[in-house]
């Protein structure tokens, strides 16, 4: 009894993908058609997403899937399908909406680029693939779209292919995530081996339903961890986070869409999607796999927040902030707050896209300067950008009450505080919250306050097509709050399928609210204290010394260089690869080559014998034949007059001769 939208859910990813193909087939000069096609495709996807959202609103805990056989190998039918439940519907809506804002923004941001049409083709392609990830009801289908998303990310990071750094970043992103995907794929194989199905929900026999889970037993832990590898890679979790900051080489709308709002969220989404695997056999809500998730998340969150403090590139700060927030979401999932994690994911999608687009607007306004130390005083020159950016900053820092980020962060804190296994993550996350507020304050002060410096003297406000999406996203970031508060936890109820939902103002203020308030105030206050002078000094020149660098140069350099992790990987993983390839090279050159040479020598010896035989015995006979043939040829070539009618006559005579021969024989 699937409703029409479930049967036709495939249209949502198919429309942007088709739009992408259509754009690719356009000529390079047809910019307007390309942009129009992409935006129309996205609007269509958004409309369908809203249509898909409606049935999940009506029935709490709605879940419907549509499965069919893709192909059969041997006797095993491989089935794929799509599923519609609150998780998918909410993600669809968020991705389509944020995507639309970013598409519109890109029309302005990329206006001068010569590969404008290609850009929109890639964007549409990405959007389609990401929507596909969300609706997939089969681990295999999810993996396919997952890889398509990876491909789109690769293409877009390396969009300015003529820059060597962009090409290198694209390669790095692709290879690093591939390491995680290897684990993911192994997990898929293992799961298939045990349960015989890759469908999530299949009327009771899917791998996430009780019957399928029962077949897994203890191996569920390992499968979950392998799948988590994929999530680690895609969501930039420690130790595979190194690609995400480098991915900022792509155009800023790409960073906003892929590396902040949607694609990196795919890892979190994946964990949430296969959560039953992680929580199988949980005692008091704790399983080994979930514990791993928590610790990885905590490490990532804290480490990235620390690094962000010492960065100077406006996009890199946001990139590390993204890594940190993703870590936070992982923690939330790990401690059992699935709904909280997803809520934070959705809220984060809006305000991080907002921040990135704001950064894009700043970069656009400052003539492609990305160093925050060269900016300043932009609040007067770019008021719309400043206001929306400030909203995004507040939401990210977790300022309570009016900003969506505050409430979701509170939920996560609440969930983490009640983790039975250890209290350490809770305190580490509290530190992370302070750090977040700190580095965001630092960034805002550098960019928007103080005196104008080198890059910001001739800054200008961005065109309407770029500010409108910013304003739209800012509204989302604020009004999203309405469905998040504990007083009326509509989104929480929606995600968990809890029908009992009523308004209770008494729940609005909880102990953790004050903790959060204190922490954020502390972070922002500390930031203002530390950096209030930074913005004022060195007019017309880049701010030279960071206050933290001044106070703790060693620590600052440690953080500025990303805790030397890239270098560590260079010395260990890359070095190992280089050494092993040298060894293989040596083997190839000397050992295998020697064998080949030995055989070759044998062949040469044989050749010497046969040559002798050939020259003496066979050649003489062949020579005679050749001479004879040449003589005959000379005679026959005389008949070959080149006159077509002679040939035709010969054919006719031949035909007559055949006729006579036949008559004579018959």
């Amino acid at each position: 009894m699937n409703s029409g939208i479930v049967t036709n859910l495939w249209l949502i990813p198919a429309i942007p993908l088709a739009a992408s193909l259509a754009i690719l087939s356009l000529a390079n000069s047809r910019r307007k058609s390309a942009a129009a096609l992409a935006v129309i495709g996205q609007v269509a996807a958004l409309t369908l997403s809203i249509v898909a959202f409606l049935p999940t609103l009506e029935t709490p805990g709605f879940r419907a899937s549509q499965n069919f056989t893709w192909f059969t190998f041997g006797e095993q039918p491989l089935r794929i399908g799509w599923v519609l439940d609150p998780l998918a519907a909410a993600m669809l809506l968020m991705i389509a909406l944020v995507g639309l804002c970013i598409f519109v923004f890109s029309v302005g941001y990329m206006a001068d680029d010569k590969n404008f049409t290609r850009f929109f083709a890639y964007l549409s392609f990405f959007s389609g693939a990401m929507l596909g990830v969300v609706i997939a009801n089969s681990l295999l289908l999810l993996f396919v779209f997952w890889e398509l998303v990876g491909l789109a990310s690769y293409l877009l990071i390396g969009f300015w292919i003529e820059r060597p750094s962009a090409a290198a970043a694209a390669k790095k992103a692709f290879i690093t995530t591939r390491i995680g995907d290897m684990g993911f794929f192994l997990g898929i194989l293992w799961l298939y081996g045990h349960s015989g199905t890759l469908l999530f929900y299949d009327h009771g026999s899917g791998c996430l339903e009780s019957a399928g889970l029962a077949m897994l037993g203890t191996s569920a832990t390992f499968i979950a961890l392998l799948i988590f590898c994929g999530a680690v890679g895609k969501s930039g979790q420690f130790p595979l986070h190194v690609w995400l900051p480098d991915a900022m080489e792509g155009p800023t709308p790409v960073s906003a869409l892929i590396h902040a709002a949607t694609m990196v969220a795919a890892g979190v989404f994946l964990v949430a999607r296969v959560y039953p695997l992680f929580s199988l056999g949980a005692i008091n809500g704790v399983t080994p796999s979930l514990t791993v998730v928590v610790w990885i998340g905590v490490t990532t969150a804290l480490m990235a927040a620390l690094i962000a403090i010492a960065q100077a590139d406006i996009k890199r700060i946001l990139a590390y902030s993204t890594v940190s927030q993703l870590g936070l979401m992982m923690v939330s999932l790990g401690v059992g707050g699935v709904a909280a994690g997803i809520m934070h994911l959705l809220a984060h999608g809006f305000f991080k896209a907002l921040l990135f687009l704001g950064a894009g607007s700043v970069i656009h306004g400052c003539h492609h300067e990305q160093d925050i130390r060269k900016m300043g005083s932009l609040r007067r020159l770019m008021p719309a950008t400043f206001l929306t950016y400030a909203v995004g900053m507040m939401a990210l820092s977790g300022v309570p009450l009016f900003f969506s980020g505050g409430w979701t962060k509170e939920e996560i804190l609440h969930a983490t505080a009640h983790w039975p296994k250890s209290q350490v993550p809770y305190y580490l996350i509290l530190a992370g919250v302070i750090l977040t507020a700190l580095y965001m304050t630092r960034q805002i002060i550098y960019v928007f306050f103080g005196k104008p410096r080198a890059a910001s003297e001739h800054a200008h406000e961005s065109p309407r097509v770029m500010t409108m999406p910013l304003i739209a996203l800012a509204f989302c970031a604020i009004f999203f709050t309405v469905v998040l508060t504990p007083a009326w936890p509509w989104l929480h109820a929606y995600l968990t399928g809890d029908p009992a939902l009523h308004f209770d103002s008494g729940r609005l203020i909880q102990p953790v609210f004050f903790v959060s308030l204190v922490l954020v105030t502390a972070g922002i206050g500390l930031g203002v204290l530390m950096y209030r002078r930074a913005g004022l000094q060195n007019q017309h020149r880049p701010a030279k010394t960071d206050p933290l660098e001044y106070a703790q140069p060693t620590l600052f350099h440690f953080l500025e260089n990303k805790m030397w992790l890239d270098e560590l990987y260079d010395r260990t993983v890359v070095a190992f690869a280089v050494v092993s390839s040298r060894v293989s090279d040596w083997m190839d050159r000397y050992f295998w080559d020697g064998l080949v040479r030995a055989f070759g020598g044998l062949g040469q010896l044989l050749g010497i014998f046969t040559t002798d035989l050939d020259e003496r015995g066979i050649s003489a006979g062949v020579d005679e034949t050749t001479i004879g043939t040449r003589r005959i040829g000379r005679v026959v070539s005389g008949w070959h007059s080149g006159q077509i009618q002679t040939y035709l006559g010969a054919v006719a005579i031949g035909m007559l001769a055949l006729l006579l021969l036949y008559a004579w024989l018959a």
Binding site: Q645, G649, A652, I653, M655, L656, L659, L660, A663
Partner: protein
């Protein structure tokens, strides 16, 4: 079948054919060629293969004859009249004709009268063409496409 019609058509066709083969002016020969094919189409009508007759007129008069006259027009600077005549060809042609006639007359089983047959409708031809002969049909389609492209490329002006 009417023997009067047969005789009239045969004389008409063969006379036009001979004219096409022997007339001096190329254009006259080409037009006689068209007339010959009208005659052959008439034979097809007489034999009850109306569809083939119509196709014959359509293809030969409408397309091939026009092509030929166009070619004559385009190569006009050359000889408009072709006086040279190769008598050895005549001898060979007559010899082949003699051989064929001898073979036809010698075969006794050929002097049969036509049986009564049901009319061959276009529908029937269409059915057969789309079932038993569908692959030859596709091949002919491919061949015609190839010929079209090939002819175009051959005649295209080479760019300086």
């Amino acid at each position: 079948m009417n023997s009067v019609a047969f005789i009239v058509i045969a004389i008409f066709t063969l006379a036009a054919g001979l004219a096409a083969a022997t007339l001096q002016k190329l254009m006259h020969a080409a037009l006689s060629f068209a007339v010959t094919f009208v005659g052959i189409a008439a034979f097809f009508f007489l034999l009850g293969a109306e569809f083939v007759g119509l196709v014959q007129v359509f293809v030969y008069i409408g397309a091939v004859a026009v092509l030929i006259v166009f070619t004559i027009l385009l190569t006009r600077r050359d000889v408009e009249k072709d006086r040279m005549f190769n008598w050895s060809g005549v001898v060979i042609a007559i010899a082949v004709f003699g051989g064929l006639i001898w073979a036809i007359l010698k075969t006794q089983s050929l002097s049969v009268a036509a049986p009564e047959i049901p009319a061959l409708t276009v529908k029937r031809i269409g059915e057969v063409l789309m079932t038993n002969y569908v692959w030859p049909l596709q091949c002919v389609g491919l061949l015609l496409t190839a010929a079209l492209v090939g002819a175009l490329i051959l005649v295209m002006e080479e760019k300086q």
